[in-house]
């Protein structure tokens, strides 16, 4: 999906479409009237979260049939998005902790004031990493439609496929995390050495774990995902760091390490704010360009006749699905940002940090991360089922629209009109003569006219 502007498809005024649609009789088979095109004001009232200025694709669709296929991804996948991101983020933070603590240990050796070792953060981070990789791997294998062939993911490496890249990232993450965990479980010199070498690999592949799923979703033809090729991985990456910090904060709170927990709270909040910013930017950009507001009613310009033909089996209540998406996003945002902000804000003001508030904030942020992944996945699938969105997204750019390619022009090609008054009959139409039929030179004979 290019970042550059796309020409609007058929800037036919919506009023014209609405007026023409109201002229057609509502099919008797439809019991409720909600599928009729509502006026802009009614739409505004029922779905206030959608801007009235949202441009819609007013061109034809094929009986409202989807033009691309929605992904088959469901709860297993959005659970993996959360778990995999958390595991990767946990190892990123554990690596940072080990890097900071090593220099802290050096400072301690040279007689400077004793510094932090972040021991428990490192250990918990490694544990979360391995458990997350194992659970995540199980979720992915269960999601395959032929799970017994899961190892085929490692037959080849394809750099154009984020799923191929991610398979190798997951493998290297699981391996290096396992090796780094040796340093937690065993205290021998070799164990510590192996762990020290594996930790940066785990951190780098952990960073890969946090973002490759966003690139995976964006490298499809699903409108909601494909319209945010950079913002979606940024959003997933920040959310992964935020949820990992929240999980580590919860574990530190349970252990009674108040200062460590407070540090992790701040990291989590910073990452959550980054996630909220990327999410808001991505959604705003998507709505500005691609969101379909009009419920899927055959428009007069549709290839199908609009007279009494009900739209196909795709749900017509677009406002309801828009509403559901907005509700999912809002609850995700509340859980993921507002509640932790409030809890940890209060905690910062209190003289003695409250365990309960700290835990509430952390679990709320975890729930928010999970809900955000579900919302993004479900909204993507919904957007793929709306042909207006995909067909609107795939209009030609300014560069592509050329005079010699009328199909790429933003306005419909001039149609032959054989029944308009006042026009001279189009002289080009004629019955092919015998000579033309046998491929000899063109004979401009005049056939019967149309009037």
């Amino acid at each position: 999906m290019r970042e550059s502007d796309r020409t609007e498809a058929y800037a036919a005024p919506k009023a014209q479409a609405a007026g023409a649609a109201q002229a057609t009789p509502t099919p008797a088979t439809r019991a409720d009237n909600r599928s009729a095109i509502t006026s802009a004001r009614e739409r505004q009232r029922s779905a206030p979260h959608l801007s009235a200025a949202t441009p819609t694709y007013a061109g034809p669709t094929y009986y409202g049939q989807p033009s691309v296929k929605a992904s088959l991804y469901g709860p297993l996948v959005w659970q993996y998005l959360f778990v995999g991101g958390l595991a990767g983020g946990a190892q990123v933070l554990a690596t940072l902790a080990s890097l900071t603590s090593r220099s802290a240990a050096r400072r301690a050796r040279s007689g400077a004031p004793p510094a932090l070792t972040h021991r428990s953060v490192i250990d918990t981070g490694r544990t979360l990493g391995l458990v997350g990789a194992a659970v995540g791997g199980a979720l992915l294998i269960a999601d395959l439609h032929t799970p017994r062939r899961f190892a085929n993911m490692l037959r080849i490496f394809r750099k154009t496929s984020p799923m191929s890249i991610g398979s190798y990232v997951l493998m290297s993450f699981a391996g290096s995390t396992g090796l780094s965990l040796l340093g937690t479980l065993f205290h021998g010199r070799w164990a510590q050495r192996i762990a020290r070498m594996a930790q940066p690999v785990a951190g780098l592949s952990g960073a890969g774990m946090t973002v490759y799923t966003g690139a995976l979703l964006a490298s499809t033809s699903t409108p909601y995902w494909a319209s945010q090729p950079r913002l979606l991985p940024m959003r997933f990456g920040s959310s992964a760091v935020a949820t990992a910090a929240a999980a580590l904060a919860a574990s530190e709170t349970l252990r009674g390490h108040a200062a460590e927990a407070r540090r992790l709270d701040r990291i989590a909040l910073l990452a959550a704010m980054a996630e909220a910013a990327c999410g808001a930017a991505g959604d705003a950009r998507y709505r500005a360009r691609h969101a379909a507001v009009t419920p899927r009613m055959p428009l007069p310009q549709d290839g199908a006749t609009a007279q009494g033909v009900p739209a196909a089996s795709v749900p017509l209540h677009a406002e309801e699905t828009e509403y559901r998406h907005a509700r999912q996003q809002t609850s995700a945002a509340t859980a993921g940002m507002v509640v932790p902000l409030v809890c940890w804000g209060i905690n910062a003001l209190l003289p003695r940090r409250s365990r309960a508030l700290g835990l509430l904030g952390a679990f709320s942020m975890l729930a928010g991360g999970l809900m955000m992944r579900a919302a993004v996945l479900n909204e993507g699938n919904r957007s793929a089922r709306r042909p207006e969105e995909y067909l609107g997204m795939t209009q030609a750019t300014e560069d592509e629209a050329r005079a010699d390619q009328p199909a790429l022009a933003s306005s419909p090609p001039p149609r032959r009109t054989s029944s308009q008054e006042g026009d001279a009959p189009p002289a080009a139409w004629h019955w092919p003569t015998a000579e033309e039929m046998s491929h000899h030179q063109e004979n401009p004979a005049h056939g019967p006219t149309h009037h």
Partner: protein
């Protein structure tokens, strides 16, 4: 229909499969039925001239019969004569029907005279486009989707593990994963028939030669001539969909080995005017995401070092 004497093959050698009773194979059958000699290494595809389609759906039937595909569903869709509705794992050819009641798009102005050409029907046999830079192939992590020696795109059924990543990747909504056998399926351009020197089932069964099978450059020349002829006859809205630099082959897809002659906007046929190649978004996405995580990591490392210690 019997071929004339000069086109009949010489009698096959004895002892071969061709002389075994009951197995009278014709070598290079495509030479007789389509005028095409199928040679591995050359590029083959379809040119579908929708102005010739009569909507008989012989292509759908032939595809189902040859590939042994089960039916998808029964029941009328209400979408004119299109009861197949869409591609699926069991539907690899799909004939679309669009009735253009009026010339100017307003159904109140019903056309009172129809030109002899096409008579306000748009019928098109849709199929996998076997794209030049096929997004399904680029998305496949197992290598099940590959490019054959005939320049077509095929899913290897013994490798696919049903990850279903090709399904949202396809910009035309073609490939799908079957819930019965758990693998991805789509048109193979009758790879098995091509290997046997036969043209694909759909093009062989098409009674009007709307679906033409052949080498890509030959097809493109033929198609360009057909477009010129249509323009000369007055059908000025005819154009090719899927040729390089044209609609359908935009955004990095390069070209569609199965290309079409349409005479209306692509969206009317449920085709995107200017699809894009999804793998163009991989690198920018990964780099932007990694940069964000790196930035957060820097901030986090600063925050990790701040504040007092409570214990180890």
């Amino acid at each position: 229909m019997n071929a004339p004497m000069e086109l009949r093959r010489p009698p096959p050698e004895s002892g071969t499969a061709a002389t075994t009773p009951g197995a009278q194979a014709i070598r290079d059958e495509a030479l007789q039925t389509a005028g095409v000699r199928i040679v591995p290494g050359r590029r083959y595809g379809f040119f579908t001239d929708t102005t010739l389609c009569i909507g008989c759906k012989a292509c759908e039937v032939a595809c189902k019969e040859w590939n042994g595909l089960p039916p998808d569903h029964f029941g009328l869709s209400g979408m004119s004569y299109d009861n197949t509705r869409r591609f699926s794992a069991n539907t690899w050819r799909h004939v679309s029907f669009i009735e253009k009641i009026s010339d100017d798009g307003d159904p109140a102005h019903r056309a009172t005279a129809m030109p002899p050409f096409q008579s306000h029907w748009r019928m098109m046999s849709d199929v996998c486009k076997h794209c030049g830079n096929a997004p399904c192939l680029e998305a496949c992590p197992t290598g099940a989707l590959f490019r054959t020696e005939f320049d077509t795109v095929v899913v290897q059924q013994d490798i696919c593990n049903g990850c279903a990543y090709c399904v949202p990747a396809c910009p035309f909504g073609v490939v799908d994963v079957s819930h019965e056998d758990g693998k991805a399926h789509k048109c193979t351009l009758c790879y098995d028939r091509l290997k046997g020197g036969m043209e694909p089932a759909c093009s062989k069964s098409c009674p009007t030669d709307s679906i033409q099978f052949g080498e890509i450059d030959v097809l493109r020349e033929r198609a360009a001539k057909r477009v010129e002829r249509l323009h000369a006859l007055g059908a000025t809205d005819a154009y090719l969909y899927g040729v390089p630099d044209g609609p359908g082959a935009t955004g990095g897809l390069r070209e569609l080995n199965a290309f079409f002659l349409l005479n209306d906007r692509p969206e009317v046929y449920n085709l995107p005017a200017a699809p894009t190649r999804p793998s163009n978004r991989v690198k920018p996405g990964l780099l932007a995401g990694l940069a964000t995580v790196a930035g957060l990591a820097l901030a986090a490392s600063a925050l990790m070092g701040a504040g007092g210690s409570d214990d180890a």
